[in-house]
């Protein structure tokens, strides 16, 4: 399962290593680390958000190991996507590598392509894809959209966005 975990690191060298070791030991797949360098908690610690994939039974073990390493675990929750965006792509969607387009979004960790319909009417004709992207929050959705814009420009795809999104 995919979870997000908010932790706090002391502002001294070597803390990140202490945070990552338990994940490695439990074979968790770390997807994103959001290290809020500029922020400080009232305890003068640095907030960090981790998004990881792991077995449900490993969650408590990871949490305990982190605390053993002196790292405060503030919150652990199932990683839920709250924002979504529908978009149509038109062009040589398949020949330019649809999987690669999806991967660019999925590998961010904060957004995922969760629905894809594809129509390829003929070999020399333009294909069309309708995709839905889910993301953790509005800012992440905007970041995913920016990635998709770059990929679409590179692949000469027409991107048709909803009217309420700033194109």
């Amino acid at each position: 399962m995919r979870i997000s975990m908010d932790i706090e690191l002391k502002d001294v060298p070597g803390q990140m290593l202490l945070a990552l070791q338990p994940l490695s030991e439990c074979k968790a797949n770390l997807i994103t680390v959001l290290h809020h360098h500029q922020k400080r908690t009232p305890r003068k610690t640095v907030p960090v958000q981790l998004i990881l994939e792991t077995r449900p039974e490993s969650i408590e073990i990871i949490k305990a190991k982190l605390e053993e390493n002196g790292i405060r675990v503030v919150r652990v929750g199932e990683h839920r996507f709250r924002e979504s965006l529908n978009v149509v792509l038109i062009g040589h969607v398949v020949h330019t590598g649809i999987q690669d387009t999806i991967d660019e979004i999925d590998k961010t960790g904060f957004a995922e392509v969760v629905d894809l319909s594809l129509s390829m009417p003929g070999i020399n004709l333009l294909s069309s894809a309708f995709i839905r992207i889910d993301a953790v929050c509005k800012e992440d959705l905007q970041k995913a959209l920016n990635i998709l814009k770059e990929v679409s420009a590179k692949k000469d795809l027409l991107m048709v966005l909803p009217i309420d999104i700033q194109a």
Partner: protein, 332 residues
């Protein structure tokens, strides 16, 4: 009774629509104290001139039978400079590269102290500021409601009816040809090329449809709105434009199955001017079909106001010209 002497420069579909509407509305205009006397009608081959007033019915039938209204070899600018009148109704074809005859006509009109009402986007897209300054210097009235959205009131709605409101943004479908093509592609599951051919046969698309389908026409209208409503100083080059030529029937169908139609949407605010095909929820006020135009004006106090109407057509466009005419002279 106030007599308004005017010329009609450009006697294509719109110019003829103006003549028809003036004939149709003669009694109404008289009832509000206005007599509109057309002293010259000009097309690309020449003009009919009569300082006592030309016969518009004759002009219309001559144009339809012989292809021109010309009885004298005289241009629009010459009419403006030599014939005494106060209003120029400028309906020559749009040229966004040079401004065409329209730009020369408008500047000459202002230089001789005449008012101008126009449906011609070209000069406004290229030289908005120069035109406004020239008009101001001579104290001329300059109105151009017919340049955006045909019969659908947008400029006068934002600047006059909603006066006092700060306009935040305007979004809409400002090109009936694109709307028709996208609507029909979805209905018939037909390709862009097939429906474009149908639109040309029906006279909805021009023989050279580039201006419409590449989004240029919509972009020009946004430039006019940006300058006239938002007080910006922009030209066509400031607009990011994507047209509809790449839109496929499959994309329209997939979008429809998920509750959307695809429309060519023009969007203008102080920050950005943008034309692109967009996904519009089926029950959204902007999801109008056929050749209709629609505009949603987002305002500070009144919220969002949406108007829809016929964006083209001689009589519909002439209706906007008539309302501009009454706005200038109706209360004098």
């Amino acid at each position: 009774m106030k007599t308004v002497c005017c010329s009609i420069l450009g006697f294509g579909a719109i110019g003829q629509g103006v003549a028809e509407v003036l004939l149709m509305k003669r009694e109404y205009l008289e009832s509000i104290g206005l007599e509109v006397k057309v002293v010259a009608v000009v097309d690309s081959k020449g003009a009919t001139v009569n300082p006592q007033g030309v016969d518009l019915t004759d002009c219309l039938s001559r144009k339809r039978t012989s292809g021109t209204v010309a009885l004298e070899n005289i241009t629009g600018v010459e009419v403006i400079r030599s014939i005494d009148h106060e209003l120029v109704i400028e309906t020559t074809p749009t040229n966004i590269k040079t401004g065409g005859a329209g730009l020369q006509n408008m500047l000459a009109a202002f230089q001789t102290g005449k008012d101008v009402i126009t449906s011609n986007k070209g000069p406004l897209t290229l030289k908005y500021r120069e035109l406004m300054e020239t008009a101001k210097a001579s104290g001329s009235n300059f109105r151009f409601e017919a340049t955006v959205g045909g019969s659908m009131p947008v400029i006068n709605l934002a600047n006059e009816v909603l006066a006092g409101n700060k306009v935040i943004s305007i979004k809409g479908i400002l090109n009936g040809t694109c709307n028709y093509i996208l609507t029909r592609m979805l209905e018939e599951r037909a390709s862009y090329t097939d429906i474009l051919a149908e639109s040309m046969q029906l006279g909805i698309a021009e023989t050279d449809p580039t201006y419409d389908v590449e989004g240029i026409d919509t972009a020009c209208k946004l430039v006019i709105l940006a300058n006239a409503i938002f007080g910006l100083d922009v030209t066509f080059k400031d607009v990011k434009v994507t047209g509809i030529t790449k839109v496929t029937p499959e994309a329209l169908e997939m979008a429809y199955e998920r509750g959307y139609v695809i429309k060519l949407i023009g969007e203008v605010s102080r920050e950005r001017i943008h034309v692109a095909p967009r996904l519009v929820p089926i029950n959204h006020p902007l999801a109008v079909g056929g050749t209709l135009n629609v505009a949603s004006v987002d305002t500070e106090l009144a919220g969002e106001i949406t108007v829809t109407g016929k964006g083209a057509g001689p009589v519909e466009t002439a209706s906007a010209i008539l309302s501009d005419l009454i706005a200038i002279y109706g209360n004098l």
